[in-house]
Amino acid sequence: MSVTLNDVLCSLQEEQSRLMMKLQQLKRELVDSPRDKIPFPVPEIPVVFQGLTLQGRQVSKFLVSNSEICCPLPGGSALVTFDDPKVADQLLQQKEHKVDIEDCRLRVQIQPLELPVVTNIQVSSQPDSHRVLVSGFPEGLQLSEEELLDKLEIFFGKAKNGGGDVETREMLQGTVMLGFADKEVAEHLCQTGQFQVPLGRQQVPLRVSPYVSGEIQKAEIKFQQALHSVLVTNIPDVLDAQELHDILEIHFQKPTRGGGEVEALTVVPSGQQGLAVFTSMSS
């Protein structure tokens, strides 16, 4: 049957009114649905207002804390940290340094210590179909982290409980994340939702829900100098560690030798390695 322009026009107009109705309906749904409501249980963390208010530019959406920066140190070196960064700065002006011991001299080198810091971070998140969140733990459970994770892995590893092979597990604050080899197991557990799990002497009602996991898209790094510290390298292997430590400490405390008040000094003996540990604090 041949279709006239009128027919085409009619059907297009019908289509349009159908589309417009759908659009209106969706707009209503969007207004009604509380976007901030999360449809799965989320652990509660108590917070309190203690009088701190932020102004304009200070407001950043995220807090950085508990930072740990580690840097391996070579054998035959020593890390010296001064109270005054100016002392470190002065010492770094000359790369070669001579340390006097009784009747001889140690020729050593002085280098700045450069540490990696993250300057920009991009993280995206999405629901992870292989992982679940286990929540509802009562207070006062007399189990260590390891014990709790073991018991959960045992319970949810059994097919008879609706579980399967557990590939990853992680203790979070107040909840546990379990990752399964088979995503159908994870899905099925979420659908069941409630479980009675034996944890020690009691049967505890726990809730299983979908887990949202995060992934780093980008983390930009730069090297920042530890301004209070210097790394003394190429120390000849002529003294034992304790003697070397004492001699270096005495030497670097002397303002006449370019030193100053030493906060800490650690020797990494020849043939060994050391790991310098730093933290960072907001200025």
Binding site: V8, L26, L54, V64, P72, I121, V123, V212, I221
Partner: protein, 308 residues
């Protein structure tokens, strides 16, 4: 049926041929317009559907981290030798829990949770101001959804990334040339453990036997690669592994802090009002108890920061 329609068409044409043609053109234009509109509507619908599906579970984070002061802790000698093969940086990132305090609102933190809950359940409170009273309403502070996780970044002391490798020689030969160039100590190189070369992308990962060789090489952005009788400069960059741990969405609830509303018409200064509110809610007769902090917003709004 076809015949019928054709006859009708013929009939229309015979009656007003010009009109029919014009209408025909108009109709075609109209059809094009409607088709375009429908396409736009469809796109809008798809966008809204996607929005409805993407719920608050999805957090996109894009943040600059301001420079912080470095502080020495200690020098360790861990048993795990693997820890010497990279330098690392790890830290926790956690959402700031903020509340926009509007004009006419106040936040009051009690020492005891029970007192806060009682004040909320009492609802309205009549607070004595200097010249009269004001009725405030106590509400719980709405919970905020936040996210927290731990970032780990490891910068290898044994491996480097090499890019911009010319495609002139066969794979095996290029791999050998890379090894030969990177083991030359006069260029800052050192004994090479292995070379992982990807011809397709012109890049490679070079692993050295000794830790620390990479630091010398990475002082410059490029490195000389000798192929045949030419010297190419390939780009070198640190080999970095990044991962995220303990990613967790949480709900920040305030148990001891109460939101008070109804202070819009108060004409005193903020400090005075804070004192008066504090005095009122310290009294057990008023349903209150020991007060930690009061912050009130009258002239301007504030961004209140909640802490754990």
């Amino acid at each position: 049926m076809d015949a019928d329609l054709d006859i009708k068409k013929q009939a229309c044409k015979e009656h007003s041929p010009e009109k029919e043609v014009m209408k025909g053109e108009q109709k075609e234009r109209l059809i094009h317009d409607i088709m375009r509109e429908n396409l736009e509507l469809d796109q809008e619908i798809k966008k809204l559907e996607a929005e409805l599906q993407s719920d608050a579970r999805e957090f996109q984070i894009k943040e600059n981290i301001p420079e912080r002061k470095l502080k020495f802790i200690s020098v360790e000698n861990p048993e795990d030798a693997g820890r010497f093969s990279h330098s690392s940086c790890s830290f926790q990132v956690s959402s700031q829990i903020l509340y926009e305090l509007q004009k006419g609102q106040a936040l009051i933190t009690f020492e005891k949770e029970g007192v806060a809950q009682n004040v909320i359940s009492m609802g309205k409170h009549v607070v004595q101001m200097e010249k009269g009273c004001v009725e405030v309403t106590a509400h719980p502070v709405p919970p905020t959804i936040g996210v927290r996780f731990r970032v780990h970044v490891d910068i290898s002391q044994m491996k480097i990334n090499v890019t911009g490798i010319p495609d002139e020689l066969p794979e095996e030969q290029t791999r050998d040339k890379l090894e030969l160039s990177f083991c030359k100590s006069r260029n800052g190189g050192g004994e090479v453990e292995s070379v992982d070369y990807d011809k397709r992308s012109g890049s490679a990962v070079v692993t050295f036997v000794e830790a620390g060789v990479v630091n010398k090489i990475l002082k410059k952005r490029d490195f000389p690669l000798y192929m045949n009788s030419k010297c190419y400069r390939v780009t070198v960059s640190p080999f970095i592994e990044r991962r995220l741990e303990k990613y967790q969405v949480f709900s920040a609830v305030s148990k001891r802090t109460v939101l008070l509303t109804g202070l819009e018409m108060v004409w005193l200064d903020e400090e005075t009002v804070e004192d008066l509110i504090s005095i009122h809610f310290q009294r057990r007769n008023n349903g209150g108890g020991e007060v930690d902090v009061v912050k009130c917003s009258l002239d301007q709004s504030y961004t209140a920061c909640f802490e754990e």
